[in-house]
C-alpha cells in the first residue's frame, strides 16, 4: 500500500532548540498511525508542520507521491490535512452547523451563505459519524464529547484525507472514549489516513495499526503495531539521552521539613501524602493532567484542599492564601511562566521584589536602592543576562525571564521551593544553568520539589521520584528503581515487566 502523506527529512529549529531533526512519517489510507514520544519529543511540532502553521527548514512533504509545500494553514487544509486539537478550537456562541462550515460555507447563487445547505450538510456529516445532533444547537450548550463530534464533522466537511487526532481522549470520560474509538473505526472505513497522538499505551494498542516513535526531535523507528510489545515501545521512547549532563548532587539529606498527609481535593486529587527533607530534591512525575500541578497549587494557597494536613518542621500550618503560603515558607514557581510568573511590562528588579516588598520598604515607602540590592543579589546568583535591572522583563529571552521568576521566589527566603516544569520551553544553556542552580539550592539546605514531565530531568536531578496518575500517588521510586521504564510504566498504568 502507498502512503497518502509522506514526510522525509523534516527539520525545524527555534532559537536555541532543534525541535525536529530530519524526521520522517508515513500515513496510509484507512489506517491509524500512532505517534509516540515523550513530552518534548517533537510531536506537537510535527503536527504544526503538517497543518501548515510551521514551515520546516528542510525536508519534503508528499501527498500521493507529489511534492507539496504548505505555506499556510489554508494550504494544508486545501490539500486535505486537518487536525483535531487537544483543546478543540471551536466557537461556543455559534451553532453546530455554523461551526462545521465556518470559513467554507456553501453559498447561494447570489454569494450569500446558504443556510439550508449548511444545515442539511451538517446533518449529513454528523450522520456519517453516527451522531444525531441538532445542527441548530448552540455549541456552548454541548458537552465536550459532542464538541469532539462537531470538530470531527468539521474536519470531514473540508473533504479531509488525513485526520490528525492530538490527544483526543485527554479530557473524555470512559464512556466517551469508547464512542471516540467507534468514531475512529468509522473514519478508517471511509479510507481516511489517521495520525493518532496519545500518551496512553492501552488505547494505542487498541486502535492503531502502525506506530512511529520520536525522541528528542529525532525519528527513532516505525512499524506495525502487531509486531511490537509495550516494552519495546517504552525502550524506544526513552532510549539513551546522550547530550544532557546533570550537575553533581551532594545528597546531603537532612530532617523532614514539609510533611503532607491525607491531602484531598474535591475534584483534582485524593489522599496525597509525602515527606520532603532538608537538602532534598523530590521529583514529581506523571502524565499531563495527573494532578501534580493541582497538588502544588493547593500547597501554595491558590486553591483550597478539602481535607488533609500540612506540617512545616512538625508544626501544622493552615494555608488558605498565597500570602499564608509565603509566610509559611512555601513558594511556587508556576509552570506557565508567561501567564502566571512574569510581569513583562515591569522592570526586572520590580519583578524580583514584588513578593518581598514588606522587607524592602520602610514606614510604608519603597526603598528603591534596597530593591536594587536584593534584585542584584539574587539575579547574579542565577547568572542572569540583562543589560540593566531597570530593563523591562518582556525584553529578555525566555530562559532569562525564567531566571527572574525563580529569583523572585528565592528572594522571599523560603523553606520549601516548588518548581513546576522549571525548564519547559527554554534553551539548553539556560536549562543547564537552572539545573545547576537547583543542585546548589538543595546543597544549601533548601527543600526542593520539582514537577517535571521530562524523564531525563526527573531522573538526573531528583533524590526520589513520586509518580502520580489520575490524581493519586501511584509509586514512589528511589535508588535502583529510578529508571525510565519504571516511571513510564507507573505513569501510564502498565504492569511492571516480569
Amino acid at each position: 500500500m502507498k502512503p497518502v502523506l509522506s514526510l522525509r527529512g523534516i527539520s525545524k529549529s527555534f532559537p536555541g532548540v532543534k525541535a525536529l531533526q530530519g524526521v520522517q512519517l508515513d500515513l496510509y489510507p484507512g489506517q491509524v498511525t500512532a505517534l509516540i514520544g515523550e513530552n518534548g519529543a517533537g510531536k506537537s511540532t510535527i503536527v504544526k508542520v503538517l497543518t501548515g502553521i510551521y514551515q520546516p527548514e528542510e525536508g519534503s512533504i508528499e501527498i500521493d507521491g507529489t511534492p507539496i509545500r504548505f505555506a499556510s494553514a489554508q494550504d494544508a487544509s486545501r490539500a486535505g490535512v486537518t487536525a483535531i486539537h487537544q483543546e478543540t478550537v471551536l466557537f461556543d456562541e455559534l451553532s453546530v452547523a455554523e461551526n462545521i462550515w465556518l470559513g467554507h460555507a456553501p453559498r447561494t447563487r447570489f454569494g450569500l451563505i446558504d443556510r439550508r445547505a449548511m444545515r442539511t450538510g451538517a446533518t449529513r456529516l454528523l450522520a456519517s459519524i453516527g451522531a444525531t445532533l441538532n445542527p441548530d444547537l448552540r455549541l456552548g450548550d454541548l458537552g465536550i464529547a459532542s464538541k469532539h463530534l462537531v470538530a470531527i464533522a468539521r474536519a470531514l466537511s473540508t473533504e479531509a484525507r488525513v485526520v490528525i487526532l492530538d490527544e483526543p481522549t485527554a479530557a473524555l470520560s470512559h464512556k466517551e472514549i469508547h464512542e471516540l474509538y467507534d468514531l475512529v473505526e468509522t473514519l478508517k472505513r471511509q479510507g481516511k489516513a489517521i495520525l493518532f497522538i496519545s500518551h496512553k499505551f492501552d488505547e494505542v494498542f487498541r486502535i492503531a495499526e502502525r506506530y512511529t516513535v520520536f525522541r528528542d526531535g529525532q525519528f527513532v523507528g516505525e512499524g506495525a503495531m502487531s509486531a511490537v510489545t509495550e516494552g519495546e515501545l517504552v525502550q524506544m521512547m526513552v532510549g539513551r539521552s546522550v547530550d544532557q549532563i546533570f550537575p553533581p548532587r551532594s545528597h546531603n539529606i537532612g530532617p523532614p521539613v514539609l510533611t503532607v498527609a491525607g491531602y484531598c481535593h474535591p475534584t483534582e486529587f485524593a489522599d496525597i501524602g509525602f515527606t520532603l527533607h532538608r537538602g532534598e530534591i523530590l521529583g514529581f512525575y506523571g502524565l499531563v493532567g495527573a494532578g501534580r500541578s493541582e497538588v502544588m497549587q493547593a500547597l501554595c494557597g491558590i486553591t483550597t484542599p478539602s481535607k488533609g494536613a500540612v506540617r512545616i518542621d512538625g508544626e501544622v500550618r493552615v494555608i488558605r492564601s498565597t500570602h499564608e503560603a509565603i509566610a509559611a515558607g512555601i513558594v511556587y514557581v508556576p509552570e506557565d511562566r508567561g501567564r502566571q510568573g512574569a510581569i513583562r511590562g515591569l522592570p526586572i528588579f520590580q519583578n524580583v521584589t514584588l513578593p518581598s516588598l514588606a522587607r524592602t520598604s520602610r514606614n510604608g515607602f519603597l526603598r528603591l536602592a534596597e530593591e536594587f540590592r536584593l534584585a542584584r543579589d539574587y539575579t547574579r546568583r542565577l547568572d542572569l543576562r540583562a543589560s540593566s535591572l531597570d530593563q523591562e522583563l518582556g525584553l529578555l529571552s525566555g530562559g532569562n525571564q525564567q531566571k527572574v521568576v525563580i529569583a523572585k521566589w528565592l528572594a522571599t527566603k523560603p523553606r520549601v521551593i516548588i518548581l513546576d516544569e522549571p525548564t519547559k520551553g527554554i534553551d539548553i544553556g539556560s536549562k543547564a544553568a537552572v539545573h545547576e542552580f537547583m543542585a546548589e539550592l538543595a546543597a544549601e539546605g533548601l527543600a526542593v520539589i520539582m514537577v517535571s514531565s521530562e524523564i531525563p530531568e526527573v531522573l538526573g536531578m531528583s533524590d526520589r521520584v513520586i509518580v502520580m496518575r489520575e490524581g493519586r500517588i501511584i509509586d514512589e521510586v528511589a535508588g535502583d528503581r529510578m529508571t525510565p521504564e519504571t516511571l513510564v510504566r507507573a505513569a501510564a498504568g502498565i504492569a511492571e515487566a516480569a
Binding site: 527555534f14 503560603a325 511562566r337 512574569a342 515591569l346 513578593p355 520598604s361 519603597l366 523591562e392 525566555g398
Partner: protein, 322 residues
C-alpha cells in the same frame, strides 16, 4: 522604562510645538500669566485623569467619574446652603466621592462585573441621584456663600488654590505610584493579574482601591468645579469622562493596563488643555479643535502599539519552541 521616558519627551515636544505655533500668531499666549491660566483651567482634567489613570492601570475603566464629580459638586453646594462650614464640606465631598468609587469597586471586586458595564450603570445612577435630590433645580451663585466660591480662586504665592491642588495631587500620586507597595501593586495587577495572585496580591482589592481613589479625586474636583463656576446643576461636566480617558491615552497609559505614569497623564491633560485654550485664541474653528484632539488620541494609540509590537514577537518565539 526607557520607552516611557522617550514617549514622555515626545509628548512634551508636541506640547511645546503646539504652544510655539500659537505663540507665532499670538505672542501674548506665552506670557507666564496666561500659561498659568491654561494650567489652572486644565486642573480639573488633571485631577480626574490621575484617578482614571490608576483605574486603567489595574485593567479597569471608570466612566462614572464625571457623574461622581457632578453629584459631589451638587452635594457641596447644598451643604453650603445648609450652613455647613467649608472645611467640613471639603472632607465630606472627598468621603462621598470615595464611597461612590467604593460602590464601583465593590461591584467589580465582589460580583466580577466588567468595570465598563458597572460604571456605565453607576454613571447614570449618580446623575439621576442629582435630579432626585434637587428636582432638577439649579444652585446659583447668589445661593452660595462668598468663602465657598472664593477658595478655588484664592491666590497663594502667585497661583490660585485650584492649581495648587492639582500640583499637590501630582506630587502625592507620583510618590504613591512609584514609592509605595500599593502603587507597585497597581502596576502588577494590570501587568499580569495571574502573576499578581501568585505573589500574594489580591487583584480585586487592588482594583477596589483604585476606584476609591478615583472617586475621592472626582469628589474633591466636584467642589472645586462648582465653586469656581459658581453654579451647580444636573448636567455639569457632562461628557467630561471621555476627555479624562483621552488625556490618559494621549499620556501613554496603556488601555490594557499595567503601564503609565502620572507625569505622562498630566502631559496628556495639558495637551488637551492647550488645544482647548489656544485654538480659539488664534481663531481656529471648534471643528478643528475636535479634529486635532481626536487625531492626537489615534496617534497616541498607534504610537503605543507600534512600540509594543517587536517585543511581543520576541516573546512569542521564545515561549513556543516545541
Amino acid at each position: 522604562m526607557s520607552i516611557l521616558k522617550h514617549r514622555e519627551a515626545l509628548l512634551a515636544l508636541a506640547i511645546l510645538l503646539l504652544v510655539g505655533v500659537v505663540a507665532a500668531r499670538f505672542p501674548a499666549f506665552v506670557r507666564p500669566g496666561n500659561l498659568a491660566n491654561v494650567f489652572n483651567d486644565t486642573s480639573p482634567l488633571i485631577l480626574l485623569a490621575i484617578g482614571q489613570m490608576i483605574v486603567i492601570l489595574t485593567k479597569c475603566i471608570d466612566l462614572s467619574m464625571a457623574a461622581t464629580l457632578a453629584l459631589c459638586g451638587m452635594v457641596a453646594a447644598l451643604l453650603n446652603g445648609a450652613g455647613v462650614p467649608l472645611p467640613l464640606i471639603l472632607v465630606l465631598v472627598v468621603v462621598l466621592g470615595g464611597l461612590l468609587g467604593a460602590v464601583n469597586g465593590l461591584l467589580v471586586w465582589k460580583l466580577g462585573i466588567p468595570s465598563i458595564v458597572v460604571t456605565l450603570g453607576t454613571m447614570t445612577i449618580y446623575r439621576g441621584t442629582i435630579f432626585l435630590i434637587t428636582d432638577g433645580a439649579w444652585v446659583n451663585a447668589h445661593q452660595m456663600t462668598d468663602d465657598f466660591k472664593a477658595l478655588p480662586r484664592a491666590v497663594i504665592a502667585g497661583l490660585p488654590v485650584m492649581s495648587w491642588v492639582a500640583l499637590a495631587a501630582i506630587a502625592l500620586f507620583t510618590v504613591l505610584l512609584t514609592r509605595t507597595p500599593l502603587g507597585r501593586s497597581f502596576y502588577a495587577v494590570g501587568g499580569n493579574p495571574h502573576a499578581a495572585v501568585y505573589t500574594g496580591i489580591s487583584v480585586g482589592r487592588t482594583q477596589f482601591l483604585a476606584f476609591v481613589i478615583a472617586g475621592a479625586l472626582a469628589g474633591l474636583t466636584g467642589y472645586l468645579w462648582v465653586a469656581r463656576y459658581a453654579v451647580a446643576y444636573v448636567d455639569i461636566a457632562s461628557g467630561f469622562e471621555l476627555s479624562v480617558v483621552a488625556a490618559c491615552v494621549i499620556g501613554g497609559v496603556a488601555i490594557a493596563g499595567g503601564a503609565g505614569s502620572v507625569i505622562g497623564t498630566v502631559m496628556g491633560a495639558l495637551f488637551l488643555g492647550v488645544i482647548n485654550n489656544a485654538l480659539p485664541v488664534v481663531g481656529i474653528s471648534p471643528f478643528w479643535q475636535l479634529a486635532i484632539s481626536g487625531s492626537a488620541i489615534v496617534l497616541a494609540v498607534a504610537f503605543n502599539s507600534a512600540q509594543n509590537r517587536p517585543a511581543g514577537r520576541i516573546i512569542l518565539k521564545s515561549v513556543e519552541p516545541r
